[in-house]
């Protein structure tokens, strides 16, 4: 697969404080890549560098095959960006905002009007298209912002915390839109603090902490890589439980529920091997379930903190 975005040895400091401390990333074309991390981890800075708004101190970034430092114009022609704050013209109507973007993409009058109307419809803004954007709710502004990004039909889209602060309905619309875009071959670079969002949407996730990538992989791989994954075995009676505990060793026993927790990566091979070992004993297994930690556990294991809690010095570095 070809790469839509690559970053090599990316570094950036603000006021002597390293915000990005050697970032390497690779995003395959036509996939969703999620950068996961708390406030102040450096997510927005990475998006700003990749979208030509901020210069890196060191390292190389290529987007759509072009170096962002040497050929920013070619990068801009390939990308669309929706940031954390709605970048809309609040004095214009929703429709005028879209037509402004259409004009700046040199779409031509008829094509601009056609796409603007379709996007207003798609984002549930058709009824408010003729009202000025300053009358919109927060969710409507964010939807308009994304519609403005999409009108130029970019092949690579950066979404910086697109659902932070959104109501559940707008969030679902956003998720559906992202899935639809990826199905159409668009590459999505998504930053989020919400683990379920990365889990739901991303093909690959990089966990960012203190300006470093502390883990990278598919959501499944990440969840399996941390301690806490286990296979839970339920037995018909205490005899089976005893037998299994002796056979397996190093397990955690719950007498009240007649279950045994066996540390494991939870993969199919490991589960089959585990059941084979029990097959030699008298233990009769009623039920088997695999428990993998969610990304919250992953984040906690990697950084020693829950995701929601930025450290004070990281807040200051912003």
């Amino acid at each position: 697969m070809t790469s839509a975005i690559t970053a090599t040895g990316l570094r950036k400091s603000f006021g002597g404080k390293a915000v990005l401390d050697g970032i390497d990333l690779e995003v395959s074309a036509g996939t969703t890549f999620s950068l996961l991390g708390p406030n102040g981890a450096g997510k927005t800075t990475i998006v700003q560098i990749m979208s030509t708004l901020v210069h890196a101190d060191d390292g190389e970034v290529r987007v759509a095959g072009h170096d962002v430092a040497r050929n920013p114009a070619a990068v801009r022609a390939a990308i669309g960006v929706t940031g954390q704050f709605s970048a809309i013209d609040s004095l214009l109507t929703g429709q005028e905002n879209l037509l402004l973007m259409a004009d700046l993409h040199h779409l031509g009058r008829a094509e601009g009007r056609r796409r603007a109307a379709a996007l207003l419809e798609q984002f549930d803004l058709a009824d408010s298209g003729r009202k000025t954007a300053q009358t919109y709710s927060g969710g409507m502004k964010r939807r308009l912002d994304l519609a403005m990004t999409l009108i130029g039909e970019p092949r690579i889209i950066f979404l910086d915390e697109p659902t932070t602060g959104l109501d559940p309905r707008s969030r679902r619309v956003m998720w559906q839109t992202i899935r639809g875009l990826v199905a159409g071959g668009v590459t999505i670079f998504l930053t989020t603090q919400q683990l379920d969002e990365a889990d739901e949407l991303a093909d690959r996730v990089a966990v960012l902490d203190h300006g470093k990538v502390v883990a990278e992989g598919s959501p499944e791989e990440l969840k399996r890589s941390v301690p806490g994954a286990h296979v839970r075995l339920h037995f018909a009676d205490a005899t089976g439980l005893d037998a299994a505990e002796r056979a397996l060793g190093g397990t955690f026993r719950h007498d009240d529920t007649l279950t045994l927790e066996v540390p494991s990566d939870g993969g199919a091979v490991a589960v089959r091997e585990l059941l084979n070992r029990l097959g030699d004993t008298a233990a009769e297994v009623d039920d088997v379930s695999v428990h993998t930690p969610d990304l919250d556990d992953v984040f906690f294991a990697l950084t020693g903190r829950p995701t929601a809690e930025p450290t004070p010095e990281m807040e200051n570095a912003r």
């Binding site: 603000f14 927005t44 700003q48 979208s51 030509t52 708004l53 901020v54 210069h55 114009a73 801009r76 022609a77 990308i79 669309g80 960006v81 940031g83 704050f85 709605s86 970048a87 809309i88 013209d89 609040s90 004095l91 214009l92 005028e96 402004l100 973007m101 004009d103 700046l104 993409h105 040199h106 000025t132 403005m148 130029g152």
Partner: protein, 261 residues
Amino acid sequence: MTTLTLAVRDSATMTRRSFRHVLRSPASLVVSVAIPVLLLLMFVGVFGNALKAGLGAVSHGAYIDYLLPGIIVITAVYGCQTTTLAVNRDSSEGIIARFRTMAISPSAALNGYAVGALLRTLVSMALVFGVAIGLGFRPTAGAGRWLAAAGVIVLLVLALTWLAVAFGLAAKGAEGTTGFLLIVQLLPFISSAFVAPGQMSEGVRWFAANEPFTPVIDTLRGQLTGTPSGGTTLAAVAWCAGLALAGFVWARTLSRRDINR
């Protein structure tokens, strides 16, 4: 399309956006006409006779003939208040950052502000001129001198506009623009707009004689009403061109620096 036609097309798009803003909030246009008109009424009706006596040999006609060029400069100043606040709002709303991630001519957004502000301010000035003529302003200029006056006015508005764009980009929030606005709003009062600098106390007189608005006002007065402008045209053009260039270069630099949020 060539780079130049793209730049012109994008700049035109951005200028249309500026016009929409004026139509959406006509209050700002009304204020930028109302304040100079109020000053005009007050200085002609309340202080006119007293100030006229003090001017003595400097002015031969009615006080309004002496006053109007200063009022035109004040109109330009209030026009640039609208500009700097609009630029600052765009900057804090993040739409300038959005423009910068798009494949558009880098100068288009700035040109849109400048052209929009120039036309908007010229409309305000035409209205102020109309009111002044109704109040008894009698310019003696022929076509050639009107043209010269118009040229100086355009240069002045360009200078103030580019400074307004740069200060709007540089300020962290709307409060950050107040310093610049206070200075440009105060400067006409310490110039030859209302009384001749010769009437002022010594330190102030030196300042009033040498600040940029005085040669601009004296040149306009000379062209419109035929008072001797004492070779101030060169100084007026030099000040305006210099400030316009400084504002333009500064705005361009600011528009290319890394954004920070």
